[in-house]
Symmetry: C2
Subunit: 333 residues, 2 copies
């Protein structure tokens, strides 16, 4: 099954303006890459036609509900054509909302539109279809051009991946490790992971979401008043992108305390993008632990943010939310 949501993979260049606009339908996409027919019989459906910077949590919910309706279908897997800009945010949400989903899902994008010679649309679609048919796995994966070889495609765990380059075709990377699977130029599937993507094999859809979560990147000169503003506007959880092992400056202690007194969930990640938060090494980290900040290990800031929106929507109180945040549901740690 191919679901199209828009993005460059479903777009062509407008030769009048020179800009790229979303245009192709899911079946156009299917027809544009005739090789797909040899890999599988693919049904196609357009969910919406948006660049991914315009996708919002409501769109995530629509995709999740559509997937949920296909949970008991005969499809071997599901392809989602998606813009690359926020693909890793969407893949994170689907990973939590559809934990244990019975068939594999591949989000596929392209960095160059499909009518350009340098387009990676066909390669990514072919590799993703092959992966879905042959990998015999479960999980939400982001399937894109790999860095090291011009014909190699990487299948990244949907909760561990980040867009790290604005323009090159191999823009996505699995943080802190190798991609879960590699599709070689001869369409062989190499498996790099030992563990299952979902930590619980039972399908357990929890599709609610509450977006009252803020992402705060700490930096010198950060005005603590901004945190007070967040509390006042009804924010229920803050994901900090701290420095290094998970720090914010001493100037933040008072507002952190205040946020805690207002029962906000406070999670710590690192703006270093790679490595693991460790708040016991330095005095400052210990102070922040005492103030009630929860270290989020090696979870990326983006995945942490999305998980917090999901956990806030699917828990009754702050304690339950914290438990969900620290439970490894879909290889996010």
């Amino acid at each position: 099954m191919l679901l199209s949501t828009g993005g460059t993979i479903a777009s062509k260049v407008d030769y009048r303006t020179g800009a790229v606009t979303p245009a192709l339908s899911a079946s156009d996409l299917n027809e544009a890459v005739p090789e797909l027919g040899k890999i599988a019989n693919i049904d196609a459906e357009v969910l919406f036609s948006e660049y991914s910077e315009n996708l919002q949590p409501d769109h995530w919910t629509k995709i999740a509900k559509k997937l949920d309706s296909l949970a008991n279908s005969d499809y071997k897997g599901i392809l989602i054509a998606h813009g690359t800009d926020t693909m890793h945010y969407t893949s994170s949400f689907l990973s939590f909302a559809l934990a244990g989903f019975p068939i594999p899902v591949a989000l596929v994008g392209s960095q160059r539109s499909s009518d350009r010679p340098s387009s990676d649309a066909a390669l990514n679609l072919i590799a993703a279809s092959t992966f879905l048919v042959e990998s015999n796995t479960k999980g939400i994966f982001l399937v894109m051009h790999h860095n090291e070889d011009d014909q190699t495609v990487a299948c990244h765990a949907g909760t561990r991946v980040r867009k790290n380059h604005t323009s090159k075709r191999g823009a996505f990377e699995t943080m802190g490790g190798n991609p879960a699977f590699i599709v070689t130029p001869t369409l062989e599937i190499q498996k790099n992971i030992q563990d299952d993507f979902f930590k619980d094999i039972k399908y357990n859809p929890r599709m609610k979401i509450d977006t009252k979560v803020s992402l705060v990147k700490y930096h010198p000169g950060y005005d603590p008043k901004l945190i007070e503003n967040l509390i006042q506007t009804g924010c229920r959880a803050i994901i900090f992108e701290g420095t290094g092992l998970g720090h914010v400056g001493r100037t933040m202690y008072d507002v952190v305390k205040k946020a805690k007194e207002n029962d906000l969930f406070l999670g710590m990640t690192s703006q270093c993008i790679d490595g693991r938060v460790r708040m016991t090494v330095y005095e400052s980290g210990r102070d922040l632990l005492e103030l009630g900040i929860t270290p989020l290990e090696n979870m990326t800031p983006e995945t942490s943010l999305v998980k917090a929106m999901w956990a806030l929507g699917n828990s009754k109180n702050a304690d339950e939310m914290k438990l969900l945040m620290l439970e490894n549901i879909a290889s996010e740690f």
Copy 2:
């Protein structure tokens, strides 16, 4: 000259608590690495003793003023011992505030405290001193353990560098290229750059700073009201960490317009961390250009934030600020 500001490089483990606390003085540091004496006669002075997550723009100004007082001294170069967490923010500020500074400056940190066997403090100090004495260059550099070899040290341009790993010794990387210089295990200096670090050779200190700048990382579910809050609290400039080539969602257009009407400077960078912002490829980018957002090329979000604080402090109006933001002063582009 060795100036100490604190950080792990100037710290030791407290064996009672197991935590690392800042303790060594600049002269202790000098004495702790006797090899330094063979490279140069080093005077030492403690400016302050803080972990770098606690450093604020006021501290940057103090360092800049101290350096400015040494501009006409006989020193061959200046070492600044500094915590690694916000080292790249400090190096950015010094690069703009002290454009054309006549002698080279090396910020040196360590990822492991100097009384630990795995410490990189001595290696980094020795390499940085050698670099200052022998490189015959000008500029603000960040000198830290390199990734690829256990004895190689990288000298990164102070405006192009990012801490990309929470814990490993080679945590820093030059974005979009190689480090400006490499110090080999035999203390030879390899030069990787063609151009001078400072684009104008005249020393032109402009040390003012205005911190009314916010860094906004856009993501699905970002609440546009937060931008209204920023305008209301007196924010004068926003640096967006957009998605991909420099996008924010359509939900942001109205508040972006409002911010522009309030005469805020609006700059666009990418959360992809590598590559170049290009806002003419997609409709959404073009819309944002029309709304008055300034694309900041390949400048990192962190450097853009610091430069905006500096440009706001050193310009009379928004037009002048924009000119400064787009002028390549210290290899930030």
